[in-house]
Symmetry: C2
Subunit: 281 residues, 2 copies
Amino acid sequence: MEIIREIQAMKEWVRAARKKGETVCLVPTMGYLHEGHLDLMRMGRPLADHLVISIFVNPTQFGAGEDLDRYPRDLPRDIELSESVGVECIFHPEASEMYPPDYCTYVNVENITSGLCGASRPGHFRGVATVVAKLFNIVEPDIAIFGEKDYQQLAVLKKMVEDLNMNVQILAHPTVRENDGLAMSSRNKYLTPEQRKNALVLFWTLKAARERVKQGERSAAVLKSEAATMIEQVPECTIDYVDIVDPVLLTPLERIEDRAVMALAVKVGTTRLIDNMTLEA
Amino acid sequence: MEIIREIQAMKEWVRAARKKGETVCLVPTMGYLHEGHLDLMRMGRPLADHLVISIFVNPTQFGAGEDLDRYPRDLPRDIELSESVGVECIFHPEASEMYPPDYCTYVNVENITSGLCGASRPGHFRGVATVVAKLFNIVEPDIAIFGEKDYQQLAVLKKMVEDLNMNVQILAHPTVRENDGLAMSSRNKYLTPEQRKNALVLFWTLKAARERVKQGERSAAVLKSEAATMIEQVPECTIDYVDIVDPVLLTPLERIEDRAVMALAVKVGTTRLIDNMTLEA
């Protein structure tokens, strides 16, 4: 297992592999790995000759007052876990290596980023698209894998790759959940045991909406209102957004005609959690 | 000579070359080639196994009311000229191929783009950086060559490559001039014979400033005021900007301490011309 901290060294590692005609799969992460991350890696392992992950808590995707400084970190554990699923190389740069003084270039995916988390976290997806564009240029992966839990992120990155003609294939992995249904997230660590129970409302709200659509409900307004009512009943839960959108362009839908995505952001205490589920008419 | 109009075909052409370990040099242009362009190609020819140029009048770098629709075009002549200097392949996509419906991703190089042409042409460098990022992903060149005549464009693209860790080396070619000193530009075609003579004021103003610095003048304010006086005396000439900036970050300078760049944009009749020269203390 190699741990590479410099961009130039990472480029050389990858170039050596590519010169031999070998392929590379990248799983970008912010570390503090959980089973969700590990499943992305397990998925990637057989898809390319080399499996590289990045661990980088990217400052440009955090807004003022967000949890950049207290975002959980545990590198020794991350190394052990990723090694156990066949990762060969971790790219783990310093923030100053990725964003030197006078840094000033950003990738903006417009439209898709205006709603959902993009509305609550201005600049967030600019930071995400920028750091992933950089990682793609540094690691030159053939394949990169992202989780569906961060649905808008996935849509934004697919659009970026398509629009900028990048030479990488983006694959999605379904959201990995705890046994009781809570979507895995490094931020679940912030929850008290009581909040951990209350947080299940995200999963159950989505399940209920999916069931209501199966039963024939087609109105997004009705589904959103029912969802909001469920969430508001739970202690310490405050809705950031409840939306039903087109699966690709993330435009709000009024009716569920075919496929749609219900996406939620809920503050449980001070911890903001997101989750989503596909609704099929 | 191959003329490729589709992104996928261009990617395959390049991939075939790269699989053999061969290198590629790209000279991006908007066509209507002149000796300036041809010199970039002559420079690039011995630097890589393959010399590719792009001809694409990029709509996203033109503002409302600018000359997108009447920008000069002459593909048969461009093909002949580029073939004569050893170009093997011209990438010449349609606008709809580069920017399909729902296109929404843009690369922004901030700070460097706020002054000079960036101030007069809002969005211009967003369009330039975006299309060049796309071209780099499509052609995957080892080397790309740009002219110093578009000095800010060159600085913006160097910064983009550095910031986004792109795997391409940007080389600059000195401004190519007509015998009487006028910087070559496809837009010179717009000038009447009388305006063509008046347009020489850009070159002579820059030469005069360079001479004044050699003689010991160090104040940017004095040099800019002298330049403005020269330009304002010439019929049909209206100053867009006269600036003296840092050669890398393009920040305005008050004194010429070491190296600086004087950059001019002047409207001659309705044609906006730019030129620049290095000033050395």
